[in-house]
């Protein structure tokens, strides 16, 4: 462990004072997006980085969380902060069912199967107009509130809520990786049959990771919808499915800082390149391809080489190995 014990506190303090450095509400908006996508990318990282499977359905769980708060608010009045728990439970429940069905298969088939589940949820949301209002989406979603005592209205407030969750979840991931359960995730990723022979229930381990990841994605969605006050099925579209994967891969899978960095790059580059129109996705795709080919450990691996953050067996990105 070469990471200075001041690195993490300094980064957190930096993140806390960051929005105070500018009064520009547009920049605040970008900060909120960054934190929400960080939470989402961190959750997908559990699947890609820790258990080593590629899920193409993650945006669907983000969408389930978003629609849960939106529908709760529409039919049952103000959901308040409790909506987050319901959204987590809802997304986690879907995650349990879908994970139970698809985790029996691994590798490319698993990726395609999650793509299939994700597309079914997307299509259903698009066509089930009675509940979801279809492609029009649900608008005028009430802001998150705590039982009438406090309401999240400004971008800064949402930023701090999301930052709190990212820091908390990041810490949980770190603690998890120090635990027996976390080590069994890595064992399953590195060699499933060896892990099984050591008494690890591979299927149950993967399912646990999948459910946690989907529940957290649901929470991210449950904040995203009231923050934007509108949700459409587009949050589950192929664009988002791919975007989250890009964040995790470009940032650095299997690490905690990587997905957060990936989310920053995603939000940052898309905004910087806004003027270039459709060219921005071309540049973004090029970046991802280059990163996959030349930096399998993600951008975080450059930082690690330079200033030696992280370390320890669990922070290593999965080593790509040739399989013939």
């Amino acid at each position: 462990m070469t990471m200075s014990r001041f690195t993490v506190p300094v980064l957190i303090v930096g993140a806390v004072v960051l929005p105070l450095a500018t009064g520009n509400t547009y920049l605040h908006h970008l900060l909120v997006l960054w934190m929400l996508f960080s939470l989402l990318a961190l959750s997908l990282n559990i699947i890609i980085g820790y258990i080593g499977e590629l899920s193409f359905g993650h945006a669907a769980f983000f969408g389930i969380g978003a629609y849960t708060t939106a529908i709760l608010g529409m039919h049952f009045g103000l959901p308040g902060i409790f909506g987050l728990f319901v959204a987590a439970a809802m997304a986690g429940l879907f995650g349990l069912v879908i994970g139970y069905a698809s985790l029996r298969i691994e590798g490319p088939q698993f990726a395609i199967l999650t793509l299939g589940f994700g597309s079914i949820i997307y299509t259903t949301t698009n066509y089930w107009v009675d509940v979801t209002r279809g492609p029009m989406g649900i608008s005028n979603i009430a802001p998150l509130g705590v039982g009438g005592l406090f309401e999240f209205t400004t971008a800064i407030e949402y930023y701090y809520l999301a930052l709190f969750l990212v820091a908390g979840f990041g810490y949980c991931c770190h603690a998890l990786m120090q635990s027996r359960t976390g080590r069994s995730f890595i064992a399953v990723r590195e060699n499933a049959s060896l892990a099984a022979s050591l008494g690890i229930n591979v299927f149950r381990t993967k399912l646990l990771a999948f459910v946690v990841a989907t529940a957290v994605a649901g929470v991210a969605g449950a904040i995203f919808a009231p923050y934007l006050t509108v949700v459409t099925p587009e949050v589950m579209s192929l664009h988002y499915m791919v975007a989250i994967i890009i964040m995790v891969i470009v940032g650095g899978r299997g690490t905690i800082a990587g997905p957060i960095l990936g989310a920053l790059i995603y939000v940052g580059i898309l905004e910087l390149l806004r003027a270039t129109g459709p060219l921005r996705m071309v540049i973004f795709a090029g970046l991802m391809t280059l990163s996959v080919i030349y930096l399998p450990g993600g951008l975080i691996s450059i930082l690690k080489r330079k200033i030696h953050i992280g370390g320890g067996v669990t922070d290593q990105p999965p080593k790509p190995e040739a399989k013939q």
Partner: protein, 294 residues
């Protein structure tokens, strides 16, 4: 025959024609997986390019539909060489996810590059066969749809003989079984990669050129094509051409029936519902071989 039966047969015929498109798309996908063990996310983009090249060849060069379609197929097949050279061949020793993600990057590059160059507005390929009608008793198909089915079937037969009878086909089958072993016995793996991608991209482009006149074309159509391709390939079993044929025709017919009798929206999801059921029952697909977890 009463009207109900006619309607049913008509739906099934339409489904078979759509299914043949899926077969053409999926055959390339399954070939690349079967021989090279690569899941190519960018496969649908070659379908898109086939359609757009046909459009521009007839519009800018003033070629007739058939020449334009052949030219587009050949051009996209040559692009397959380039794609393989830069995105697949250099990564052949990497983890399968690296290849999957690199092909995803290529797919995004081609979709968004296509939107940039071709424009996002839908285009329409004109074909002399689009309006001609062939009546078989009370059932009706356009000449274009007959063409899709006929050429699709012809291509599959040609491909079958290519893989079974020619030296190159035998080299491809050897590579599919064991790439390293094949290389040891003198098979030029690099050429196998090139030929496989040329065939796969050419088939996808041909599908694009054939289907183009029956629907609007737009640059994001590639993701539709690759999703259909995945459904078919997983249904039939990754790597199996017979599986792609049966899977594709089945998907086409089921979608047509669901779309005709239940709802068009549900027809889009039914394919995925089928693969989920099939994979839970037979994880390897109907005709495939895949790894099973745990």
């Amino acid at each position: 025959m009463d009207i109900e039966t006619i309607l049913l047969i008509q739906q099934i015929m339409n489904g078979l024609v759509n299914g043949m498109t899926y077969v053409l798309i999926a055959t390339g996908l399954t070939l690349v997986f079967g021989v090279l063990h690569i899941i190519n996310f960018a496969h649908g983009e070659f379908y898109m390019l086939g359609a757009f090249f046909t459009f521009f060849a007839s519009k800018l060069l003033g070629l007739d539909y058939v020449t334009a379609g052949i030219l587009a197929t050949v051009a996209v097949a040559s692009l397959g060489i380039v794609a393989n050279r830069f995105f697949f061949w250099p990564l052949r020793r990497e983890h399968e996810f690296t290849l999957l993600l690199s092909s995803l990057g290529l797919a995004l590059l081609l979709t968004n590059g296509g939107e940039l160059i071709f424009g996002a507005d839908p285009k329409y390929i004109s074909s002399p066969f689009a309006d001609g009608i062939v009546a078989m008793g009370p059932m009706i198909l356009t000449q274009q749809r007959i063409l899709i089915f006929g050429i699709g079937a012809l291509m599959l037969v040609l491909l079958y003989f290519f893989i079974q009878k020619t030296t190159m086909g035998k080299m491809m089958r050897a590579t599919a079984q064991d790439a390293e072993g094949a290389a040891l016995t003198g098979v030029d793996i690099r050429r196998v990669y090139t030929v496989t991608f040329v065939l796969a991209c050419g088939l996808a482009a041909l599908a694009g050129a054939l289907v183009g006149p029956t629907a609007m074309i737009y640059p994001t159509v590639g993701s539709w094509a690759v999703l259909k391709g995945f459904i078919v390939v997983v249904l039939g079993g990754l790597g199996s051409i017979v599986g792609a044929l049966i899977g594709g025709l089945t998907l086409g017919v089921v979608e047509a029936l669901v779309g005709g009798y239940i709802s068009l929206g549900f027809a889009q999801a039914v394919g995925f519902a089928i693969i989920i059921v099939v994979l839970l029952w037979r994880p390897n697909g109907l005709f495939g071989v895949a790894r099973r977890a745990g």
